[in-house]
Symmetry: C2
Subunit: 515 residues, 2 copies
């Protein structure tokens, strides 16, 4: 018989709460990694053998989280107190002065699977479920997340593994269901500045009579996300109940996805993928499709812009991505239609929430100077959605969509959706602006989407809703000296100056070939 | 002719020092990652578009570093100030209130190579040089380091890549050279508690007449490193000049490696490998051999303990590792002899600096109760070093070493080395101790090295030099009820209590089979 030893020790007075400390909100934003700050001379630190970078299990009456330790050697943190980073504070739903117990967490079994994957092992559905479950519960440190992303990058995932990952991500959060079928959806892989087709596609599709409950994201690193743009026209922070009401009444909505908890592991992974600038095909597909499937969609059109400064840079890559999206989509119950588009330059004229909203409105209102590229892209996508739903014959989608737009149905539907979401409003206009013009005669041959986006961000977008950039000279424009290239808009003179400084010191935002 | 546009803008008053802020040491230990703390409302944060987790180039008069941004939302950091983590503070050699300029660093080109490696590309020597150069200069974030380690894990490195990596790591720091040949060295892969053979091997080899300038590390996660143990017997923080003097006079030394800058990239990588619990064969080999080659060694004996709770867990793995060590060693000018040993339990009796030093002294002094296992392991290793140097015939090394030990030469040499390093001293004894004894009659069948090490750490080791644990019942010991199993030693009653609490609540430290 094998027995684990129970050493015969004299009893010691149980020092109750010996590992209990008081919480302080110290306002440090570490982005999403939960960090706990403890004093070096703290008795818990010493008795538990905690060191900087130790992973710590923080137990609070409301629940528990894993956090990474940073050790404080100064007196700004009082003895007996521990600080929490903003992410940790929000996860724990704690109050100032609450007491917490700290201990070593058990090693995460799923990290063993990550190591196995790094060593070339094929992982099973259960393995992905455990990994993604731990990631969604924020049990992975940033370093762990990076290793998982690396383990999956570079075609290291077999097709069935991508499917397992996608299913695991769907199961990690809420799953919506709708009293209608089909449920149409759209997505754009790697956004282009100004590409706000969603705000046109949703009303066209809904006006046609299909159901399209669209959730969109806010900007993370770009000057505007679809939700930011929509917010200049109507409220977007809808709870699930409100969203249902809008969709029941109007057939569609454009809500912020942040108020529903769809594929939460995705949000955690995306942040590290961005830091690493790694976006493996398998993880990209799982990310996109898990959000759509969790939202209860059945049919999705996916726009893949291809261009030198876009996310997908070759038609070959786009083709392979498109095939994988369809195959994995089928496996998780989604009919997916991928479509490849031009990703060489921004779409429309505005970059920034209100400026993009103006482009959208001018297309919806059939204004004569409405940006033709935005209109065309929206009609193609809307047409594909109509065809994918089998409601219109192949080849007729785009024409049908154009009709719905031309006769004002799309605009009326959009207005009705806005009203249902809480009320339509006209986007505002920034107080300060500066026109940048051509220094010599020539042709615009290229536009750096990234630099243009950065300039727009420096004006204050997306926080400053009316700030941003208006492009007057898309690729192929023949410009005369002093002809307008783009206008910077800002809500304060200081922000306009910041953007101007950047523009002055950065060549190649627009490339002009002298003629 | 292609021209980048120089936009015609009205001049604006150059706001000099607009991006300059004052440094504050805020005493946060993030381990090695340099972190910078900036206020959310800071004008530099806003104008540069910095966000939590942004990588920032911090320029100071003494040089510049890359740091990761944490955004502060409270008032403990004053407007106009920025805080630095301890790692960042030390790297920048800054003073309180110094001014720094902050900007976006250019993207690191070598991270492109890391991504390429993740996507399966074979990297060239120059690629590894750039990667390791950036890592040694601390330009990689923890997330970047994790991706590089993951990219190299799991047999993804070809032999020539391991050689390239090793050479790049050697070149990343100082390289010592000695006025003698051969230069002997030893290393143990994945330390076993109490395995302080170095303190026996060095005096034996030096007494024989060979040169062995040994640098050792302090404990990072274990209860004692070789340098910690040696420090209870003599000073170990020797500068390069002092070290040379000792070696010239006595032929050997046991100095702390921290005062010389050998393969600094290794120190950065090891920390993340430990957090991930990933130690790819290629990186392990590069790590070990780069330190040895940079130290100017020519011949190295490498001890690979194999055991269930040791770093290397199978003889097969040890064999493959041993072969790779020899091949890569040859490529970087090192003659390597790997030797596989038993890694199933601690070596000697003591665990903790002074307790291990006592074991060493009792072997050196040929005391009758000296731990036989420690003595034997040291003689085997010393013998192999003698044979590797070609000074004694094959098969005669161990016997020669035993002779040097038995006739007191090793002890006299060790004493002389200690004196040369600053003076020999006897290790102290802790004031508090507690004996843990067997609860029933049986046989000790297994020992968990990790749990034992943890208990020893909780007593205060290695900071408390005399603290730790003394093992009385190694594997196969037949124990009667109440027979001593191990003794805990501590310098304070509180620490003894912490260790006891852990021992009480952790089964399986020693496994006893009832008889």
């Amino acid at each position: 018989m094998n027995k684990h030893i129970a050493t015969a020790l004299p009893g010691s007075s149980k020092r109750s709460n010996s590992h209990s400390l008081l919480l302080r909100r110290i306002g440090i934003d570490t982005y999403q990694e939960p960090v706990i700050y403890m004093r070096q001379d703290c008795h818990v630190c010493r008795s538990e053998g905690f060191e900087a970078q130790s992973r710590i299990l923080v137990k609070h009456q409301s629940g528990s989280i894993f956090a990474t330790l940073n050790v404080v050697k100064n007196d700004w943190l009082l003895p007996g107190d521990v600080g929490l980073s903003e992410a940790a504070w929000q996860m724990l739903k704690a109050a100032e002065g609450d007491s917490v117990e700290l201990s070593h967490p058990l090693p995460l079994a799923s990290l063993g699977d990550v190591r196995a994957k790094l060593y070339g092992k094929h992982l099973e559905p259960d393995d992905y479920r455990h990994i993604i479950g731990d990631i969604a519960a924020r049990r992975y440190s940033d370093v762990d997340l990076s290793a998982f992303i690396a383990a999956c990058a570079g075609d290291r995932m077999a097709l069935d593994e991508v499917i397992s990952l996608t299913k695991a991500m769907i199961a990690s959060g809420d799953e919506l269901s709708w009293n209608a079928a089909p449920i149409m959806d759209k997505h754009c892989v790697g956004g282009l500045p100004g590409n706000r087709t969603t705000l046109l596609v949703v009303p066209i599709v809904a006006a046609f009579g299909l159901t399209m409950p669209k959730t969109s994201s806010r900007a993370i690193t770009s000057p505007a996300g679809t939700a930011d743009t929509m917010e200049t026209l109507a409220p977007v922070s809808l709870g699930l109940g409100e969203m249902r009401k809008v969709v029941e009444r109007e057939g569609g909505c454009v809500a912020w996805g942040g108020s529903v908890n769809l594929s939460p592991a995705d949000d955690v992974l995306i942040r590290i993928e961005r830091a690493l600038d790694i976006d493996g095909e398998g993880q990209l597909v799982a990310s996109v499709l898990s959000k759509k499937a969790a939202a209860g969609s059945t049919h999705v059109v996916i726009d893949i812009p291809v261009g030198e400064t876009a996310k997908v840079r070759s038609f070959e890559a786009a083709g392979s991505l498109s095939k994988l999206l369809s195959t994995v989509g089928r496996a998780v119950g989604l009919e997916v239609q991928a479509t490849i588009s031009d990703g060489s330059q921004p779409v429309g004229r505005g970059i920034g929430p209100a400026l993009e909203a103006k482009d959208v409105l001018s297309v919806l209102r059939n204004e004569s100077n409405a940006p033709e590229d935005l209109r065309e892209r929206a009609l193609i996508l809307a047409g594909q959605i109509l065809e994918l739903s089998r409601s219109v014959p192949q080849g007729q989608g785009s024409r049908t969509a154009a009709q719905i737009l031309a006769d004002g149905c799309a605009w009326r539907k959009f207005y009705a959706i806005c009203e249902a979401q809480g009320g339509f409003r006209e986007p505002g206009r920034a107080e300060f602006s500066h026109l940048v013009s051509a220094p010599f005669k020539g042709v615009v041959t290229a536009i750096d989407n990234r630099k243009l986006g950065r300039a727009a961000k420096l004006t204050g977008a997306p926080k400053a809703k009316t700030a941003g950039l208006e492009l007057h000279a898309p690729i192929s424009t023949v410009v005369e000296p002093e002809q307008p290239l783009y206008t910077l808009h800002a809500e304060t003179r200081g922000e306009l100056e910041y953007a101007l400084e950047y523009v002055r010191s950065n060549d190649g935002i627009l490339n002009i070939q002298e003629t």
